[in-house]
């Protein structure tokens, strides 16, 4: 396949208080082997050469681990492919002559900082509310393997723990709900013996913080699960619902 010429429609917003609008750009000679972010780099070099403001977007690892590269591409979080982040999206999923819409995550709880960058610190505050276990790390920490853990539970906890906090679930949910993220974070501890001690407080506090941040309510549409780059399953939400119920019954 030869290189591609593309039309990009990108959300430009100067700062949190700017109104913002979609702006059209052209990029040419894009290789199918490029990642989506490399294509964005080409555009930004072009803009810098012309003395214009480059498009601000978040990125760090560029290998699907950090969860920074939040972009809503052609109507889908992280673009058309499945189980990947934007940095893992190849330009070969597009065709010469395509128009590509690129927008920031949209949620009241994720305000735009600039262009495609959003403030996801709401996730950090949910984590601070309970996404941890309390252990004494003063030098005599117990060996993790001293506690026997069933293989199935360990595997499931590991699956939940692969959530990278990217926010695609919120971006894709019609309700901007954060339930998949919080469900994963609650589950990774709920499945392990180390998580039991603070289980009731954890789920209550994390759900309370989630609600305070202004995320919407889950209506079980399941869109989050489809768009999640790490394949976090809806079962984690069901588990969180059970955990919260247990915590309420236990008082």
């Amino acid at each position: 396949m030869s290189n591609m010429n593309l039309t990009l429609k990108i959300w430009r917003q100067n700062g949190p208080d700017d109104k913002g609008k979609m702006v059209e750009y052209k990029v040419s000679d894009i290789s199918e082997h490029m990642s989506f972010l490399e294509m964005m780099d080409v555009l930004n070099e072009q803009l810098i050469a012309k003395g214009e403001d480059p498009v601000a977007f978040d990125h760090d690892c560029r290998e699907g681990i950090c969860g920074m590269c939040s972009m809503f591409i052609n109507g889908e979080a992280h673009g058309p492919d499945r189980a990947i982040t934007t940095c893992q999206l190849h330009m070969r999923t597009f065709n010469d002559g395509d128009t590509i819409y690129i927008e920031p995550w949209r949620a009241k709880a994720f305000p735009v900082i600039k262009d495609l960058m959003v403030d996801r610190s709401a996730f950090d505050r949910i984590q601070h509310a309970g996404g941890y276990i309390s252990v004494n790390t003063s030098g005599n920490t117990q060996d993790a393997n001293a506690l026997p853990i069933a293989k199935a539970a360990a595997d499931e906890a590991m699956d939940a723990a692969t959530c990278i906090g990217c926010g695609a679930c919120v971006a894709t949910c019609k309700n901007s709900s954060a339930m998949l993220f919080v469900g994963a974070k609650v589950s990774q501890y709920a499945l392990l013996p180390q998580g039991q001690v603070e289980a009731a407080e954890r789920v209550k506090n994390m759900v309370e913080q989630m609600d305070l941040e202004g995320f919407g309510n889950c209506t079980n549409t399941g869109a989050c699960e489809v768009e999640c780059p790490k394949g976090i399953s809806l079962e984690n939400i069901a588990r969180m619902n059970r955990e919260l119920f247990k915590s309420m019954v236990a008082g």
């Binding site: 052609n74 819409y101 949209r106 009241k108 019609k174 889950c218 489809v226 969180m240 119920f245 915590s247």
Partner: protein, 228 residues
Amino acid sequence: MSASASIFQSSIAKKYWMAISGLFLMIFLLQHFAINFLSVISPDLFNEVSHFMGTNPLVQFGLQPVLMFGVIYHLAMGIRLDMQNRAARPTKYAYEKPGESSTWMSRNMIITGLTIFAFLGLHFYDFWIPEITTKYVAGDISGLNAHGEYRYFEELVHKMSDPIRVGIYCVSFVLLALHLMHGFQSAFQSIGARVGKYKNLIIGLGKAYAIAVPAGFIVIALFHLITH
């Protein structure tokens, strides 16, 4: 947040109540269907059961208010949640492809739900208001017509002889089917039960219920339209 407050207030607690009221309404619907079905197989039996349901104090003053509350609660909470959910995304996307990741039914519960509620208005006008007027305003709880026979089957047949009315009923049942397609399994997900080995069973049962029950109501309505 105290535990007692959180039972009603957290976003997840609202899901529990939506699920519980929804499950309750699904059980009600099943018994309503069973009684209606009697009208196809035996008008006499239908009359007797209708009279029992219409005059038994436990049903009338115990279950009926619970049902009313269930309907209104499910509706009011559904509207409230929908408004909160819209507010959670003040700026919309310029380009969305929601069909890639979720079903139409799951995204449009408010539309199917409100249509079903509008249908309930007609249904109340057709059956419930006349029934309540006869029994509690006119004070006639005999359940008999002028010829001294039970009036229930005759009234049903009378209403179902109007093709336009039957048409509206049928359309509403299609919307109900769409609502239940998502609603059944969603209720189990909300209470944390749509998991592991039960997941496929619940999804399968949900589809069967969502299709069979509304289709059954449609068949009953058409049966009376055609045979009378």
